[in-house]
Symmetry: C2
Subunit: 145 residues, 2 copies
């Protein structure tokens, strides 16, 4: 962060002094074509604010955990799995992800999907699905499309 408190947007969802973290992709990873930028992680705040963006066809990690996510879609459109529901999401939509609820965001085929995620600074590690769970949850997206 710049010392003066201001961090200017570059446009296109990049910012001065904010690193872009591209997740390493491996065969079994439950995510695809997603980047993370931590916009605020000030120790004087109880939460962090991160910006995630998936390329067209990309998706966030399929996971669940104790901590809560508060999400605002910032750009594009796609679908969100929450528990056993898959719903279309678009810019400005809000999603609250309660504890121990499977969730995943998937960008549509034609444009990126970007969202803000507010989360407790101190939080537990996500649990990933088994292959069987991932397959069953993935079918919910197929049914919703």
């Amino acid at each position: 962060m710049a010392d003066d408190g201001f961090r200017t947007s570059h446009g296109d969802f990049r910012w001065d002094g904010v690193d872009l973290l591209a997740y390493k992709q491996e065969g079994s990873a439950p995510f695809k074509d997603i980047t993370r930028q931590t916009l605020f992680a000030d120790t004087r705040l109880g939460c962090e604010l991160r910006y995630f963006e998936m390329a067209p066809g990309g998706y966030s990690t399929l996971e669940k955990h104790q901590h809560v996510h508060a999400v605002m879609i910032l750009r594009g459109e796609g679908h969100c799995l929450l528990g056993d529901q898959v719903r279309p999401v678009a810019a400005q939509d809000l999603v609250t992800i309660p504890p121990w609820t499977w969730h995943q965001f998937r960008a549509g085929p034609d444009q990126p999907l970007g969202f803000l995620c507010m989360v407790n600074a101190l939080r537990d590690k996500p649990v990933l699905p088994s292959a069987e769970e991932a397959a069953a949850l993935g079918k919910l997206f197929t049914a919703a499309n």
Copy 2:
């Protein structure tokens, strides 16, 4: 909040199930033409996320306090006072407001200025400026325009 976790945007920065709070305007109030919507105030999160919007020519409360604000501009453009600096701000810009730092956002004359503000759920009450302080700080905006 809807029970299912999803709150759809109406477009134009309004949301299902989110009340719009318009501040009562009085002669001496250090704000003008501003509304607040609390997007997330989940007790399981250490912070809240609010959306503030000023009409063209409007401005947020001129204030300072112990707690920190983490701000992302969402729409429009205007200026931000932070300490003894006034800087232009536009969509996607980030501002960190440190403890005990005078701050105010002002929309430009032609369009609204909207921003997200992340803040600790437990926080102290803002201090307002004296008439002399407000006048001196207001001059910084005049100099920046």
